[in-house]
């Protein structure tokens, strides 16, 4: 078959060349988001001193750990919407289902994240849970 020997001579290949020429706009703000993400990845969030040197854990790692723990341990009726390291603490934003005791649920989640982070990192981090919304269904 002709295309087996030289696919680029097939008339359909012109469309491939036009596809190559199509402009792909960079999403607005992507460069700034990248720079912020890299800055977060560079900042040390937790330092654990040891006898023969110390352990430094970046904000990115602490955020990922906290996100995984929060998703896994969130009590029934609590939905985690965001996790970030700000003001030297892990900030967890959640919404609660209507009817759930928000203060008890938030405190239970805060304790779970604090305990598990301390177990995994070897040092305690401050964790704040903020109830920012109510789910009606």
């Amino acid at each position: 078959m002709a295309e087996q020997s030289d696919p680029e001579r097939d008339p359909r290949w012109d469309a491939v060349r036009r596809a190559a020429a199509r402009r792909v706009p960079t999403p607005p703000g992507l460069v700034e988001r990248v720079l912020r993400a890299v800055a977060r990845g560079r900042r040390t969030a937790v330092e654990v001193p040891g006898d023969d040197g110390g352990l430094r854990v970046t904000e990115t790692v602490v955020t990922r750990l906290a996100t995984a723990i929060a998703a896994e341990r969130a009590p029934a009726g609590v939905r985690v919407s965001a996790v970030a390291v700000e003001d030297d603490a892990v900030q967890v934003l959640v919404s609660v289902r209507f009817g759930v005791a928000a203060d008890e649920a938030a405190e239970a989640l805060r304790r779970e994240i604090t305990t598990e982070l301390a177990r995994q990192l070897g040092t305690e981090a401050t964790v704040n849970v903020h109830v920012v919304d109510v789910d009606r269904d």
Binding site: P11, A15, A19, V24, V38, R42
Partner: protein, 184 residues
Amino acid sequence: MSDDADLVAKAAAGDDAAFGVLVRRHTPRMYRVALRITGSAGEAEDVVQDSWLAAWRALPGFRRESAVSTWLYRVVTNSALALLRRRRPTVSLDEPTDRSTVDTALLAAAVPGPEGRVVRAEEVDAVLRAIGRLEVSQRVPLVLRELEGLSYEEVAEVLDVSVGALRSRLHRARVALLAELRER
């Protein structure tokens, strides 16, 4: 305008402004590659962020043996491939289910003016969708060579394969792409 290699050296020494210039200069093409490989704008953004984090960590080890742009193509390609490996199998709701039996290539050539341009735009969409349906091992070299315009040597370096192996892989990819386009 500063040379890329100089910017990398400065960034590795802690110059944030130099790193910022690199990010602004290369993010558009890295996003383009990530989008073509993953087929998803959201995932492409994640890939670009992961790539720059990886690039930043690797700055001190960068050697001038390869061009900075080739190195970054390699970083973003590897990040995109890692994302595809992590991705759970899903069925895209955006994927068109009906396949036109009209040969748009011939139609585009036959129809002049604005209508022809619309047909040609649809044709380009069809090509990009067809590339997205190819196996990853065929899609990636095709994106780098045909859409990004890298040389065989550069693509081989990005994918860490010999030029000979790349040429045969690309030939299979082109044949597969034409078969996809013919099926439309």
